[in-house]
């Protein structure tokens, strides 16, 4: 928080915090991630059982007939998780093929904005910036994109492209503010982005009251985005007849963006600078990089990606600007970036997982009355566990693969200090 000044003497034996903290986000292994998901689902299961009325009723006579409680709990949990699966991957009770795979397409629909915004946050993490502001960046991007989408009249193709660019620019502008403030005055980006989220919430509410956005004064919704500015459906009717998929070309944008971010981070000079500034800003400065400039560039990229996430909503799924356009994508994207360890493809798959949890959560809620809030609990438990591998290892009694290597490194530091 704010400027931390070191004590007057440098303590060499303590690892530089910035280094290790970002390294922890990026490092880690897949097994831990899988186990974390398992534990989180188990914890979620206990909650579902606890909140289930049948279970609680059976629990009143637990000591006379314990099996009743256990079987009621089993029924409640398995019903919920089966519904979750049917709502997110494959619905075997559907009558048509299209209906059976619709849940999978819904998962992807929810995943697209999560992936795009998650990429933005991951870029920030890699550069050592805690961008909590994806929510606000999505909102401002959505305002820009939707305005171009419904107010301008342009040819097909160009219209969509401009609306997408508009969304990215809107997000980038909102992202640039904390970037510039941090570069110029050292303002802590965590605080500034949090504040800008709230400003954006009021901004969208104000915008939607303006005549341009609300011609009929009908409610909290802008005019629909023109066909020419909308993402076309990804799976045409001739391919899967009778489909009502909401899946649109936004998913292609997400895949391209993932590839682009990978290239940017691993194969470009910008990514090199960005990672250097994130891993060790002092060394980056000594090597002639302008850390302030990198901060601004990073936040512009991060905001631009969040802005693109908004286009998946306003130019695709929703087709118009609403007050709730960002839903909780901006915050969920933080957990997506963490789960994906800030690596582009990691973020991509983490986004798919969380999209599936979201899509499945809705069916689970309608079929089993299990509130979708359980998804939030599961998500946060996953991220907490992934951030603390020793805990997961302790639960499953796994050996610590890092041990010899890490302690050797510490020892080396000690040696230098001694």
């Amino acid at each position: 928080m704010s400027d931390t000044t070191n004590p007057p003497v440098k303590t060499e034996e303590e690892p530089p915090s910035g280094d290790s903290m970002m390294q922890r986000i990026v490092a880690g292994n897949a097994l831990i991630s899988v186990l974390a998901v398992v534990i989180a689902l188990v914890i979620g299961g206990f909650l579902i059982a606890f909140a289930n009325e049948d279970v609680r009723e059976a629990a009143t006579y637990f000591f006379s007939r314990p099996m009743d409680t256990i079987s009621a709990a089993w029924t409640a949990v398995s019903d919920a998780y089966i519904a979750l699966f049917r709502g997110s991957i494959f619905n075997w009770e559907a009558t048509t093929f299209a209906g059976a795979i619709k849940p999978l397409t819904e998962s992807i629909v929810f995943a697209v904005p999560l992936i795009l915004a998650g990429l933005g946050i991951a870029v920030g993490f890699r550069a050592g910036l805690f961008n909590i502001g994806a929510q606000g960046q999505i909102i401002v991007g959505a305002i820009f994109a939707s305005y171009i989408g419904f107010a301008w009249d342009l040819p097909v193709g160009l219209h969509l492209l401009l609306a997408m660019i508009g969304g990215a620019v809107g997000g980038a502008v909102w992202g640039a503010i904390p970037g510039v403030l941090k570069a110029k005055s050292g303002a802590n980006e965590v605080i500034v982005t949090i504040m800008l989220n709230y400003v954006a919430v009021y901004l969208i509410s104000y915008t939607l009251k303006q005549p341009v956005f609300n011609p009929g004064r009908s409610g909290q919704k802008s005019p629909a985005v023109a066909e020419s500015a909308s993402y076309p459906p990804l799976i045409p009717d001739w391919l899967v007849p009778g489909n009502s998929f909401r899946l649109h070309w936004g998913v292609i944008v997400a895949i391209l963006a993932t590839m682009a971010v990978w290239w940017l981070m691993e194969r470009s000079t910008i990514g090199f600078e960005l990672r250097a500034a994130g891993a060790n800003p002092n060394a980056a400065r000594t090597a002639g990089m302008s850390v302030g400039r990198i901060t601004v560039i990073t936040m512009v990229i991060a905001g631009g990606l969040a802005g693109l996430a908004s286009t998946a909503q306003v130019l695709g799924t929703e087709g118009a600007l609403t007050a709730g356009v960002a839903a909780s994508y901006g915050f969920d994207a933080i957990t997506v970036a963490l789960l994906g360890r800030s690596k582009p493809w990691g973020v991509f798959f983490a986004g798919l997982l969380f999209g599936a949890l979201k899509a499945g959560g809705f069916l689970m809620q309608s079929l089993t009355q299990t509130p979708i809030d359980i998804v939030l609990v599961v998500q946060s438990v996953i991220v907490l566990l992934i951030a603390a591998p020793p805990l997961v290892r302790a639960i499953f009694r796994l050996p610590d693969p890092d041990r010899p290597r890490r302690s050797a490194r510490t020892a080396k530091k000690q040696e230098v200090a001694a």
Binding site: N6, I132, S185, V190, I191, P371, L376, V383, L391, T410
Partner: protein, 432 residues
């Protein structure tokens, strides 16, 4: 330091201009900006003969104070020039390399706020209710103050507490549920800090034991609490609302005599026990942090943990307990949303106030008393937005509601950009 064997270096023979640091023009610039907004924006609003009326109620029958009407334009102009004068004085001071006194900022701030009120209420039949404005401001500030105190305790011991939001929310939840279950608002008052402390314990467990990045743990814990309380709200609580979520308001306690003071009496001393507890916590914390063994050790642990370790202070143990205590303070503050305001629990009812509390703590430079001032400022500007939109001011309510957040951004970028928090905040401590 002895200099017996040290002879001064031979002075430079050339005549040199004195080497001095750069002048920091921030104070005069900010003041001048406020003056210009007052003169050019607010001053353009009212017509020449418009008036603004302020209503001051005493809250008791002993006094009655008539409404005060001011000529809008002239008041704004006068206040604008006061601010301009202050800016000029600040300029003189910084050029003379003297520090700008705090009272100058307070004058500018007050003049700015009053001129805004005059502008917003100009030429309207409705009056600006000063007492309501202040009372509402305090009410909105209470959870912020609790949250900021929680942040101070936590960060002074070296752990960043983003989880204030979650602690407030779970406090509101626990207070509502337990108060309802036992049909006693005081039971809720016990439950809230315990629930908050549990979130604090989780934060401590992950941040201190596993050394997970503290900002990440905080953000995730907030999500966890939102999910958990939302889940239980939609299941257990809704299934039997009469048992688990019936309103159990804390009763208002009038302090004799003090509550009779005009304007501030009813605002400050006609409150629930929760607010009085808040006064106590702030005062005790301010004293203990700087004048007690606990405070000295806590600050050492937050500034330079290794130094604390070398004198036998158990750094991580102290951090854990302080983080748990901080959680309890925020949890207690969360009770204000439910039983403290006479409401049942509602989904996400803390509505991001925990983050504002964090901002108040930073604006208050990690100092309890200054954090209270910052929290009051936020509460005031937020309530100002509410009051003005209810009296039908021309200023869009959204823009007013944005104000606290924008002020925080400006403050973080300008006023406190260089302020230094506890040096070790955010850094886990390991000895070997």
């Amino acid at each position: 330091m002895s200099t017996s064997t040290v002879t001064e270096p031979v002075p430079d023979t050339e005549v040199d201009e004195a080497v001095v640091g750069k002048i920091n023009y921030r104070a005069p610039i900010v003041n001048a900006l406020a003056a210009l907004i007052t003169l050019l924006v607010f001053g353009m609003g009212p017509t020449a003969d418009a008036e603004t009326t302020f209503q001051v109620s005493s809250g008791s029958t002993m006094f009655s104070i008539p409404n005060i009407s001011l000529p809008s334009l002239i008041t704004i102009l006068v206040l604008g020039f006061v601010q301009l004068g202050a800016a000029a004085y600040a300029l003189v001071l910084v050029r003379a390399r003297r520090t700008v006194p705090v009272w100058l900022h307070i004058i500018v701030g007050l003049a700015f706020v009053i001129s805004f009120l005059v502008y917003a209420g100009a030429g309207r039949s409705s009056v600006i209710p000063v007492t309501t404005l202040l009372a509402g401001a305090l009410a909105l500030s209470v959870p912020l103050i609790f949250g900021a105190m929680s942040g101070v305790v936590c960060e002074r011991s070296g752990v960043i507490n983003i989880a204030i939001e979650g602690q407030l929310l779970i406090g509101a939840f626990a207070a509502a549920a337990i108060a309802s279950r036992f049909a006693s608002s005081y039971a809720g008052l016990v439950a809230a800090p315990i629930a908050g402390a549990m979130v604090g314990a989780l934060l401590a467990w992950f941040a201190v034991r596993f050394q997970v990045n503290q900002i990440i743990v905080g953000v995730v814990l907030n999500t966890l609490v939102i999910g958990l309380t939302g889940f239980l709200f939609s299941t257990v609580m809704s299934d039997d609302a009469a048992l688990w979520n019936a309103r159990q308001p804390l009763s208002t306690i009038k302090i004799p005599l003090l509550s009779e003071i005009p304007i501030i009496g009813p605002v400050l001393f006609q409150q629930t026990i929760l607010v009085y507890l808040m006064y106590v916590i702030v005062i005790v914390l301010q004293f203990m942090l700087f004048r007690s063994r606990w405070g000295l050790r806590t600050r050492a642990v937050g500034e330079y943990p290794k130094a604390a370790d070398t004198v036998g202070i158990k750094v991580n143990t102290r951090r854990v307990w302080n983080v748990i205590m901080a959680g309890a303070i925020a949890g207690l503050g969360g009770a204000f949303f439910s039983i403290g305001s006479g409401l049942a629990f509602g989904r996400e009812m803390s509505a991001g106030q925990g983050y504002i509390a964090l901002a108040a703590m930073i604006l208050g430079k990690w100092n309890p008393k200054l954090a209270v001032v910052a929290a009051l400022l936020f509460g005031f500007s937020r309530n100002l937005g509410n009051v003005l939109s209810s009296i039908g001011s021309a200023v869009p309510s959204e823009l007013l509601l944005m104000l606290p957040y924008i002020i925080t951004i400006l403050a973080v970028a300008g006023f406190v950009g260089k302020v230094r928090g506890p040096a070790a905040a955010g850094t886990p401590y390991t000895k070997s």
